[in-house]
């Protein structure tokens, strides 16, 4: 056990899984000598060679599409999509092929592959790098969508994703790669997909988030505590499968909910959670459910992104207002 950043935990996971299974390969843009633009694959090509850690031509469609073929041929590819913003160039391969090939072949071709992709905002990237596009993929049956917020979860969930015979989109908060640091076992371990983590226990209100937003919301919960509001923070970790029982248990306890997402409001995954809550535990609610999201506008250039991405001050203000209105 030692303290590791999220990117270190992810790298250690891939190294250990590649050591344990020579069918595991890594493909992506700049994953070789450079070690990936965030260094997630640093040192892997030196250890495993350029046939298992492959720098791909700059073409996201064939990076994903050939990854499907590698999986069918018997390998277990980990595909690094350099930024989720570039996923649009490969969306036809992900949405219609990765997610459906098992279904279309009536079970003949399972796809044991993982698409790892940094995503989310807050680090002043160039244009088109920072969007939180998770809802496109949660709306795509056949995929599993994982979005950890801690280094410990990133390592354990990635190991589980690599072991999974279903295709997994593994979303890594680019803001959290180096900022997030926690205790991570040195040995291999797995965390099951589909279980949320109670980041902080509370009794007055449930705050639901995932990925980088969970870290921000947890800070907001500290400030709310200082105002005498006891907030329970749920870090979903897994969007598909969704831990419906875990959400319902918390809502039954608190009776008030805010869902926080980095993405624009309309059609976002927060809406899905809110619809689920009203189906599962409407009568536990003491107040309307609050959505704290970006506006329905394109992700802006870095100089103004702080207006766009929800922050802790906004969460504190809106949750305080919810509490006083529903007291």
């Amino acid at each position: 056990m030692s303290e590791k950043t999220m990117v270190e935990a992810i790298r250690e996971c891939m190294r250990q899984e590649m050591e344990a299974n020579d069918k595991v390969v890594v493909i992506g843009e700049d994953v070789g000598k450079l070690g990936g633009v965030f260094r997630a694959t640093d040192g892997l090509q030196a250890q495993f060679g350029d046939q298992r850690v492959v720098d791909m031509p700059l073409a996201e469609g064939v990076i994903i599409g050939s990854g499907i073929g590698l999986a069918i041929s018997g390998l277990r590819p980990i595909i690094e999509l350099q930024f989720l913003g570039f996923g649009h160039q490969a969306f036809h391969q992900i949405g219609q092929q990765v997610a459906r090939l098992r279904f279309r072949s009536q079970g003949r071709h399972s796809l044991p592959l993982v698409i790892r992709s940094p995503y989310g905002g807050g680090v002043r990237t160039p244009e088109l790098h920072s969007d939180a596009f998770e809802a496109y993929y949660t709306h795509t049956p056949g995929l599993k969508v994982i979005a950890p917020a801690s280094a410990y979860d990133a390592k354990g969930l990635l190991a589980e994703a690599i072991a999974s015979d279903d295709p997994v989109l593994f979303l890594e908060p680019l803001k959290g790669y180096r900022l997030v640091k926690d205790e991570v076992p040195d040995e291999r371990y797995r965390i099951p997909l589909g279980k949320l983590r109670v980041m902080r226990e509370g009794t007055d209100v449930t705050l639901i988030a995932w990925s980088a937003a969970s870290v921000m919301v947890n800070q907001a919960a500290e400030e709310l505590a200082a105002q005498g509001i006891s907030a329970e923070v749920l870090d979903l970790r897994s969007l598909t499968p969704l831990d419906i029982d875990g959400i319902a248990a918390s809502v039954a306890k608190t009776g008030r909910v805010a869902v926080i997402q980095e993405a624009p409001l309309t059609g976002g995954f927060a809406s899905e959670i809110i619809a689920t809550i009203q189906e599962e535990c409407f009568y536990s609610l003491q107040a309307p459910i609050l959505r704290i999201t970006a506006p329905d506008t394109p992700y802006p250039l870095g100089g103004v992104e702080d207006y766009f991405v929800p922050d802790a001050a906004r969460v504190v203000a809106e949750v305080s207002a919810l509490m006083s209105e529903s007291a």
Binding site: G65, G69, L70, I72, L101, D165
Partner: protein
């Protein structure tokens, strides 16, 4: 290699026995197309695309493969290649009757599903080929597509990757003149499709797609190169779609009748029959016997397909995941219960 009158102008790579076997497959699928089209008109078969006119192209290619270790990544117009690889005819029929069970690919058949999203199978084919090579197999992969699909970005990306990785993949481009109603000249200003290979560092060749022996020979050469580690080949098979795009299409709105008439004269089946007739191994009697035999095989497959019960609501859920989310499992149960109560 084969003139339309059956005259041989080269050394054939297929012996008479193989040519007869190939001819049977060509006649089998021509007959299938006719029967299935008739059934579609009666509402007993779904919308599907026939291989009419392109039989030599698909069969000549397919006979150069070893189904034991080579893979197919089809589009949807290559029934003869699927059959030779071992995909059951009744599954093909079921698929186009709308029964999901038709999509099932038997465990020992090395094939990707039929692909409706044009060109999407090509990156996958390249990946399978590359993966076989990485794991020390000498299997090769053939992927079929047309002059229309050749305009898709996936084609460019795949040929480029195949060049870099020397993946043992054969890009079998059937230039059949049409993408539904859009003629070949609207797809590209290039003189040929095969010349693109140069830009990717892979082999490229053009072949008369209505010449069974020529198609077989260029494909066999491409397979040999791929097995020897020399990488990919783009084969442009020049042929013609003498039928409609599919059973919902009306070619009379756009087809050039004079051009069609010229191509009908180059019928690939007649050409092989002329060749075998000149060799004395094909007569009117053997031709009729083979056509009767093919018709019986198709009737048996159609009967088998019709005997498969229509799938229930569980077909919506089966095979989506190895380990399905709890929510989907609950939906499956509720769909089954609701349907049973209806």
């Amino acid at each position: 290699m084969l003139a339309q009158d059956g005259t041989l102008t080269g050394a054939p790579v297929m012996n008479d026995e193989q040519v007869l076997e190939a001819l049977r497959l060509m006649i089998l699928t021509r007959t299938f197309d006719e029967k299935a089209t008739a059934m579609q008109r009666q509402g007993r078969f779904g919308t599907f695309s026939s291989v009419r006119g392109q039989e030599a192209s698909v069969v000549g290619c397919s006979f150069a493969l070893d189904p034991e270790k080579d893979w197919l990544a089809p589009q949807y117009r290559e029934l003869p290649a699927l059959l030779r690889h071992g995909y059951p005819m009744e599954n093909f029929a079921l698929y186009f009757m709308g029964n999901p069970r038709g999509g099932a690919i038997p465990e020992n058949v090395n094939m990707l599903p039929l692909q409706i999203s044009l060109a999407a199978q090509i990156p996958q084919a390249t990946g399978v080929a590359w993966g076989l090579k990485l794991q020390g197999s000498d299997g090769v992969v053939v992927t079929f597509f047309g002059d229309g699909a050749s305009s898709e970005g996936d084609v460019h990306e795949s040929m480029n990757l195949a060049g870099v990785t020397k993946a043992p993949v054969i890009f079998f481009l059937q230039n059949n003149g049409w993408a539904i109603s859009t003629p070949r000249k609207n797809q590209t200003a290039a003189r040929s499709f095969a010349e693109r290979a140069l830009g990717y560092g892979i082999y490229g060749v053009t072949v008369d797609g209505n010449d069974l022996l020529a198609v077989h020979q260029v494909t066999a050469e491409a397979v040999a190169r791929a097995r020897a580690g020399e990488g990919a080949t783009l084969i442009e098979s020049v042929t013609y779609r003498t039928g409609a795009h599919n059973t919902a299409d009306d070619p009379s709105r756009y087809i050039d009748q004079a051009e069609l008439d010229e191509w009908v004269k180059k019928d690939p089946i007649e050409r092989v029959e002329n060749y075998l007739r000149a060799k004395g191994v094909w007569t009117d009697e053997t031709a009729q016997a083979m056509r009767d035999d093919c018709a019986a095989e198709i009737d048996a497959a159609m009967t088998k397909a019709r005997a498969v019960p229509l799938a229930g609501p569980e077909a919506l859920f089966d095979h989506v995941y190895v380990d399905p989310p709890q929510r989907m499992t609950a939906q499956r149960q509720s769909w089954i219960e609701r349907t049973a109560g209806a």
